[in-house]
Amino acid sequence: MKTQKEITISGVGGQGMILCGTLIAEAAAVHEHKRATLSSEYGVETRGTFAKSDVIVSDEEIFFPDVTEPDLVVCLHPAAYARYAGKIGDALLLYNSDEVTPDESAAGPQKGLAITHMAKELGNPQTANILTMGAIAALTQVVTPEGAKEAIRKFFKGKSDKVIALNEKAFDLGYEKGIELREER
């Protein structure tokens, strides 16, 4: 049985993929004592060009840190979607339906989630990456919500209780939607 879970979070620079991936991997490594890596690919520009983060979580030592056999690919931008749709076998593709118009003819399972819309509803569009994190945790089960939220609290340490609470809420919402998608599958 494959004990290693591989997740790609893709979009364009500035969408917070590295933060999202780091928090998942950190939660898995520090709070749940699994092995985890995060590697990323980006262009010379800080904003606007294709970028991705690869998260691998395993019970064993991880050697090659880039995703080669994905379990989940998240696409937050059409540029990222175009790169992966129909090309990742039977891995699930999760796209941000506020940004991406799906190609229904693309092979393989895919699900949309209105990430931008939901983050705005929560009161801060910047919570989108934490919301995404929740959905990833639910879909892959690489971290427990408790471990993930510990990582979130650690990251936002020093910020107001309100900010921390908002991000925890974003995680919970993402997690809830992720579970719904999982059950649909």
């Binding site: 780091t22 950190e26 490594a29 092995r35 995060l38 090659f64 080669t68």
Partner: protein, 377 residues
């Protein structure tokens, strides 16, 4: 016990340097090494150290050597374009026998190349980047834990052998985030400078007739001269042929004669390995994945990972060449270390490279393919 953390390779290098006792950083930010500069600017003043950003890498290397001559353990971080500029004063550190650690987080070259993409194209530049005969120590990390632990080793070697040490990382490891144990001081063995104890009038910093001469620091009772020009035992200019011969031989021999003590290698499944992967740095991660997959297919593959690249770890390399049926050398360049492997191929076994220079990491499948082909022969 240490502190269990999840962090980036570049950040762990800073923590490793500070744990080794480094208190001075001079550098010029460059992708993909800039996080070393950034985290050093945060961490050094917290521990009473100093960060200074120089006008270029030439000045950075100079300030680094100056600080070390004043007694502070000093380091810098750069990438290929910066290494090219640092090469000039790297020679001063070599010639003046001044310890320091130079981190090179390799990116794709030549010139500006692909600034954000990984490569291992500086392997020979690290060895021969500065002009003239000399030897140098080059260490290559393959994990975030290495970035911490091996950095301590780099500083230890630099003080022990009075030499610059190049910490040859790459974008894969520099930007990789994974778990690391930041070891507590009591877990670490730290080598401090071998300071002179003789009568200050008798102090000769370049008299290596009885082992490597101790090195003092400016401001101590031991007055001394550092000289990038050919110098005598006192550091005074000296152009006598016998003296030049003595100095240049010494600069190589003080390291090459200790190659086995400096050699760090890791062996995986080498006991019965028929196909041996000889690798280092970020590409070692690809090799280990490929080895695992090959073993799952019943192929007797093993990995000899070279952590010390220069001086060449002769003993382990020769041993691997003695027993292997074939050797595969994956490198993120067109074959810079494979030459060292080929030189030691007394049995004339197949030695093949798996090379990638397009800014992408070597995928394990590429190495696996080479393993399968060699195994089928």
């Amino acid at each position: 016990m240490g502190e269990f953390r999840f962090m980036q390779g570049n950040e762990a290098m800073t923590e490793g340097a500070i744990a080794a006792g480094a208190r001075f950083y001079a550098g010029y930010p460059i992708t993909p090494s800039s996080e070393v500069a950034e985290t050093s600017s945060i961490r050094l003043p917290q521990v009473g150290g100093l960060y200074v950003q120089m006008e270029d890498e030439i000045g950075s290397m100079a300030a680094l050597i100056g600080a070390s001559a004043s007694g502070k353990k000093a380091y810098t971080a750069t990438s290929g374009p910066g290494l090219s500029l640092m090469a000039e004063n790297l020679g001063v550190a070599v010639m003046g026998e001044i310890p320091c650690v130079l981190i090179d987080v390799q990116r794709s070259g030549p010139s500006t190349g692909l600034a954000t993409k990984p490569a291992q194209g500086d392997v020979l530049q690290a060895r021969w980047g500065t002009h003239g005969d000399h030897s140098i120590i080059v260490l290559s990390p393959s994990s975030v834990q290495d970035c911490f632990d091996l950095m301590v080793t780099a500083f230890n070697y630099s003080e022990q052998y009075r030499t610059p040490v190049i910490f040859l990382s790459d974008e894969i490891i520099g930007h990789l985030r994974e778990q690391v144990i930041l070891r507590s001081p009591e877990e670490l063995e730290i080598v401090e400078r071998n300071e002179p104890t003789c009568d200050p009038k008798e102090y000769r910093p370049y008299d290596h007739s009885v082992g490597l001469a101790p090195l003092s620091h400016f401001g101590s009772p031991y007055v001394f001269k550092v000289n990038g020009s050919m110098h005598d035992e006192w550091g005074r200019p000296c152009a006598r042929p016998d003296n030049a011969d003595r100095i240049i031989r010494h600069l190589s021999e003080k390291i090459e004669a200790h190659a086995e003590e400096i050699a760090i290698t890791r062996k995986y499944n080498m006991d019965d390995a028929e196909i041996v992967l000889i690798c280092y740095g970020g590409a070692a991660r690809s090799a280990l994945s490929a080895m695992k997959k090959a073993r799952e297919k019943g192929i007797k593959a093993g990995v000899l990972q070279l952590v010390t690249l220069w001086p060449v770890p002769e003993k382990d390399l020769l041993a691997a060449m003695q027993t292997a049926k074939a050797v595969v050398v994956p490198e993120l360049n067109l074959g810079q270390y494979i030459g060292e492997v080929a030189k030691r191929n007394a049995r004339n076994i197949p030695v093949r490279g798996v090379n990638r220079i397009d800014g992408q990491p070597i995928f394990p499948a590429q190495i696996l393919e080479a393993i399968e082909e060699e195994a089928a022969k």
